[in-house]
Structures are given as structure tokens and as C-alpha cells.
């Protein structure tokens, strides 16, 4: 039956929409994209409740504030993909910050201090990797122990006092920007992009996923699970060392403070990003969006004048919801 072209287009339209609509009705669609959907929802809600939320100034501030968590979430995502967990990640960052601070106050300059900070942090990762991969210590126990060791070392080395760092380079790192994107978030974005490339486009990334998915099979195919695990914990700690730099830049001092919130949020961001803690399912963008979501949540609550005491509560609720949603992910 011949139909005019106009009506044909209109009869075809719902056809093309149908798969997408069916998709949206599926719970797995929401589960796979929990972090992005949650972020959009938060932005909409907060911009209704607070006119200051969606201003350029606040977006810029949020992105800068998100940088550290984005980097830690990427680091944690690598470890979790191998089926492990790094509970020492924020303590590693703290130790890296103290390493940077001590080197700086000894007059070693920005570049060398940066390298020393990252190497100090990487040392914790090496210990984690050796304990877990060679020593066959459970990841949970090993990194709980190094959390304590790194925290203790940071306190001992700094004598428990913050080390002031007045570096013009650090100042430029915190204040410089391209458009609304401050240098910290640009650094975090570059790290995220490189991490994505390494995870999904290199042999090493494939091996990380294989070891996390089924280490026995990975080994049978000639992969050294020991080496992959050590490298993963090393990379995670090295990234924590980079985050340490941003931390020092932000505070203007290397503080031996205990940053437990960063640890919990790094794991929360990965869970929000739809990564299963059993390992083998790699995601990089998800955890990054998860980190942005958690930062937006904290920022929005602050803007609304909600007491700081409620923030961990809110984070906890969001993570529980995300964890419940991940049950509906496609297998």
C-alpha cells in the first residue's frame, strides 16, 4: 500500500525508538550506567536547590576538588580489576606527600621532590605487591597492614607536624587553568585517558583483566599472575604518589593526616562505576564518573548548608544504592 513519504517517516520513528525505550525499561540499563545517571540526577537536583551550584566558578572548583579522587579511583580500579583491593591507598598518598614535603624542605626543588614523593608512595605499592602476589597474603590483610605502616611512617618522618611547602610550581598547579579546567583536573583527565588506553589497548591491560577474571586460566596461558599483580599494586601506589602532589598543592603543606575519607571514596567511586569487586570486569570511565559524582554530592550538600556530618552518611547511602543496582548488571 503506497503511503505518502511524510506519514512513512512518522510511522517509522517509534520503530527506531523502540529498542532504546525497551533498553531504558530494562533494569540492567540503569545498573550499567548508574554513575552517569546518578551524576546527571544530582546535577539537576542541586541546580534546582542552589543557584550557585551550576555557576562556572563552582563547576571549576568542583572539578579541581575532584582531581585527587579521580586519580585514586583510577588506581583503585586497576587493583580491583585484578580481584584485589588496596586499603592502603590514601595512607600511601599521605606518605608520598610527606616524602615530597621532606625533600622540598631539604631544598631539593620541585622536580626532584615530585619524583621522591612518587617513589616513596611506589615503595608501599611494591611491598603490597610482594606480600600479596609472592607472599600469598590476602589483599585485605596485606593492605590493611601497609595502611597502618604507611600512616605510622608518615607520622614518624614528619614528627606529626605539617611540613609547609611554598613552591611557586605547586601554586601554579593549583591556580592555573585552561578555560574552566584547572590543571589538577587536566592532570587527572590525562591519567584517566592513559589508564583507559593501558587497560583496553595493551597486553598488560588484557593480562590484568585475565588475572582478575580467572588467574588459573591466565597462568595456564603463560601469563605471570605474580608479575601482573605486583605491577598493578605498583601502578596504584605510584598514582597515589601523583595524587599526593595535588594534595600538597591544595593544602599548601604536606600533612601526615589520616585521609580515611579518600580511601572509602576511592572504593565507592569504583563501585559506583559499576566494577564488581570480584575482579575481571574492567572499567575506567565508570569509576571516574563515580569520583565526579561523589565530589558533586559533597559540594552540593555544602552549598545547601548541610552540616559536614551528613556527608559520609550521604556517600554511604549512595554507595549502598549503587551496590544494590549492580546486581542487575548484565552478566
Amino acid at each position: 500500500m503506497p503511503t505518502p513519504p511524510g506519514s512513512r517517516a512518522s510511522t517509522k520513528a517509534p520503530h527506531r525508538m523502540a529498542p532504546m525505550l525497551a533498553n531504558i525499561r530494562e533494569l540492567s540499563f540503569w545498573a550499567e550506567n548508574a554513575a552517569s545517571i546518578g551524576l546527571v540526577a544530582l546535577v539537576i537536583v542541586f541546580s534546582f536547590l542552589s543557584p550557585a551550584f551550576l555557576t562556572l566558578g563552582n563547576i571549576r572548583a568542583m572539578l579541581i576538588a575532584a582531581a585527587i579522587l579521580v586519580i585514586l579511583a583510577v588506581a583503585q580500579a586497576f587493583v580491583i580489576t585484578t580481584g584485589g583491593i588496596d586499603l592502603s591507598i590514601s595512607a600511601t598518598m599521605t606518605l608520598g606527600a610527606v616524602g615530597f614535603g621532606l625533600s622540598w624542605s631539604a631544598g631539593r626543588g620541585f622536580v626532584i621532590s615530585t619524583v621522591i614523593g612518587i617513589l616513596t608512595a611506589a615503595l608501599v605499592g611494591l611491598v603490597n605487591g610482594l606480600l600479596i602476589a609472592r607472599g600469598k597474603v590476602t589483599d585485605f590483610i596485606a593492605t590493611l597492614a601497609t595502611l597502618s605502616v604507611a600512616t605510622g611512617l608518615a607520622l614518624i618522618l614528619s614528627d606529626g607536624k605539617p611540613i609547609a611547602v611554598n613552591s611557586s610550581q605547586l601554586l601554579r598547579l593549583t591556580t592555573g587553568s585552561i578555560g574552566i579546567f584547572g590543571y589538577p583536573i587536566i592532570l587527572a583527565a590525562v591519567i584517566g585517558a592513559v589508564a583507559w588506553f593501558v587497560m583496553f589497548r595493551t597486553r598488560f591491560g588484557l593480562h590484568v583483566q585475565a588475572v582478575g577474571g580467572n588467574d588459573e586460566s591466565a597462568i595456564a596461558n603463560g601469563i605471570s599472575a605474580v608479575r601482573v599483580r605486583i605491577a598493578t599494586y605498583l601502578i596504584a601506589a605510584g598514582l597515589a604518589g601523583v595524587a599526593a602532589l595535588l594534595l600538597v598543592a591544595r593544602i599548601g603543606a604536606a600533612e601526615p593526616a589520616i585521609n580515611t575519607q579518600y580511601l572509602l571514596n576511592s572504593i565507592a567511586a569504583v563501585v559506583l562505576g559499576g566494577v564488581s569487586l570480584t575482579g575481571g570486569k574492567a572499567k575506567i570511565v565508570g569509576p571516574i564518573v563515580g569520583a565526579l559524582l561523589l565530589t558533586a554530592l559533597t559540594n552540593g550538600l555544602t552549598l545547601l548548608g548541610v552540616s559536614q556530618f551528613y556527608q559520609p552518611l550521604a556517600v554511604g547511602i549512595v554507595v549502598v544504592l549503587a551496590a544494590l543496582l549492580t546486581r542487575f548488571q548484565k552478566k
Binding site: 588506553f197 589497548r201 595493551t202 597486553r203 588484557l206 583483566q209 585475565a210 582478575g212 577474571g213 580467572n214 588459573e216 586460566s217 591466565a218 597462568i219 595456564a220 596461558n221 603463560g222 601469563i223 605471570s224 575481571g280 570486569k281 552478566k331
Partner: protein
């Protein structure tokens, strides 16, 4: 030769023997899975390894493919004694294995499993990146020959049927240009057509000079394919027979111990 004639592998040992495993033992805690197992494999032949459940077949396979290090005993490959510290060593020495558990990673795609541990890469400036296109194409090609309903190479192994998984593992091992291909119950989950194709692959491998070690509980299959048959019982290779000089009845008797070697 000091060994008894029935234990000696063939009437003219030496010439084209590719692999010899001698007096391999392996224990797990108190379980003696292998108590002095000795077998030989010859170039261009299909060697079958049969025996009841728990006889130690898979354990011997895992010793030959570098997963287990034997507690004692020697492995000689191409006239040289070898010690496989890792599966990587074994595959570098030309031994590929289809394990009974298939050794696939469920969360990865078929093509990723196909090239796991031997990824094709290409240069991108200073770095090497995965050559995804080449790997997908190559995997699809090899799989096409084997599976009746070949799965898409981009689907996750988790989504495949048992038979499709087995096809992936077999195509993977067969496509690696090795000297020895070991298959631990390769047709256990396969339908009639797929079994026929796998048997064809095994014959093709043999014809191209590869030594195939076939573990199977299917007597008809063993008699159909094998040139030489080793019988294992309770961790020992109790007898070796030329396929042409034995019968199903004799093999059953050897497996159960009703008949001494």
C-alpha cells in the same frame, strides 16, 4: 633396554620419539596423584592416554604443560631434558594444551581468549598496542573451521555454550604451530558433528607432523584415532600398546586391573 618389553614404548624406540616422560611423580599433600608415570610420544602420531577417573591423566598433562612441577622424574623433548618452570616455558618449547577445564577467562571475549598470552601487537610510535583487528580476523577464521555454530569472536566466553567453549579452546591450541598438542577430553561436551570436526582437526595435526596427546574416555574414538595407547591406573602408566595390536576388551581389562600389563 632394561625395562620389561610391555613397558617399552615401541619396538624401535629412539628414531622419531619426540617426548619422553620418565618416572614422573606428583603428590598433593597426602594424595599421590602420580606415582612414577612414564610415557613416550612420537612425531606425527596420535598418542592416547586412557584410564579411570582420578587415574592421574590430567595431572600428567599439567606436568607436561608446565602448570605443575613434578616432584621427581624427567621430561625429555627432542632429545633434550627440559624442566618447565611455567606454562610459558612449555608453550615456548612447542607444547600447547587444551586443558580439561579449558583454561578460558569467562569475562573476556573469544578473540581475547584466543590470543591470551600471545597477543598480536603493532607499533604505535613508541608503544605497542594490541592489534585487535588482526586478532579478531584470525580467531574468526580458525574457529570457522571447527565449530558448526561458530560464536562471534567478540562475544564474551561467559555467553557461550559448553561446546562452543570447547571449540574455542581447541581452535586456540591447534592454531599455534606447535610441536605437541595435548587435548584433555576435547570432545567431552561436543555434539556428533562437532566431535567429527575435532577428530578431523586432530588427524590434520597428525598429518602435518604434530604429535598429539589425546585423553579420552571414548574407546571408539581412541581406537579410531590413536596410533599408540597408554593406560593409566592409580598414578602409574601401567601399559603401552600399539592401537593396531590391541582391542577394546584388552584396554578395559588393563584399565580396571583385571589384567596385569
Amino acid at each position: 633396554m632394561t625395562t620389561s618389553p610391555s613397558l617399552s614404548p615401541v619396538s624401535n624406540p629412539g628414531a622419531d620419539v619426540l617426548l619422553t616422560a620418565e618416572n614422573i611423580t606428583k603428590s598433593f599433600g597426602g594424595i599421590h596423584a602420580l606415582k612414577s608415570a612414564s610415557i613416550t610420544m612420537r612425531r606425527g602420531e596420535i598418542t592416547a592416554l586412557i584410564g579411570d577417573n582420578g587415574a592421574g591423566k590430567s595431572t600428567l598433562v599439567r606436568c607436561l604443560s608446565g602448570i605443575h612441577k613434578p616432584d621427581s622424574g624427567t621430561i625429555t623433548l627432542d632429545g633434550e631434558q627440559v624442566v618447565f618452570e611455567t606454562p610459558h616455558h612449555a608453550s615456548q618449547s612447542g607444547i600447547e594444551t587444551v586443558h580439561q577445564n579449558l583454561a578460558l577467562v569467562e569475562e573476556l571475549a573469544v578473540w581475547q581468549n584466543f590470543f591470551l598470552g600471545r597477543e598480536l601487537t603493532r607499533r604505535l610510535g613508541l608503544i605497542r598496542t594490541l592489534d585487535r583487528k588482526a586478532m579478531k580476523a584470525h580467531a574468526a577464521e580458525l574457529l570457522q573451521d571447527l565449530a558448526v555454530n561458530a560464536p562471534s569472536v567478540t562475544s564474551k566466553v561467559r555467553r557461550l555454550s559448553g561446546g562452543q567453549r570447547q571449540a574455542v579452546a581447541i581452535a586456540r591450541a591447534a592454531g599455534r604451530n606447535s610441536k605437541i598438542v595435548i587435548m584433555d577430553e576435547p570432545t567431552a561436551a561436543l555434539g556428533v558433528q562437532e566431535t567429527a570436526r575435532v577428530e578431523h582437526v586432530i588427524n590434520t595435526l597428525r598429518d602435518s607432523g604434530v604429535a598429539v596427546l589425546l585423553i579420552s574416555h571414548n574407546f571408539d574414538q581412541v581406537m579410531r584415532l590413536a596410533d599408540h595407547i597408554w593406560v593409566m591406573r592409580a598414578g602409574v602408566a601401567v601399559a603401552g600398546r600399539r592401537a593396531s595390536a590391541t582391542s577394546g576388551d584388552e584396554l578395559v581389562a588393563l584399565i580396571t586391573g583385571a589384567r596385569a600389563a
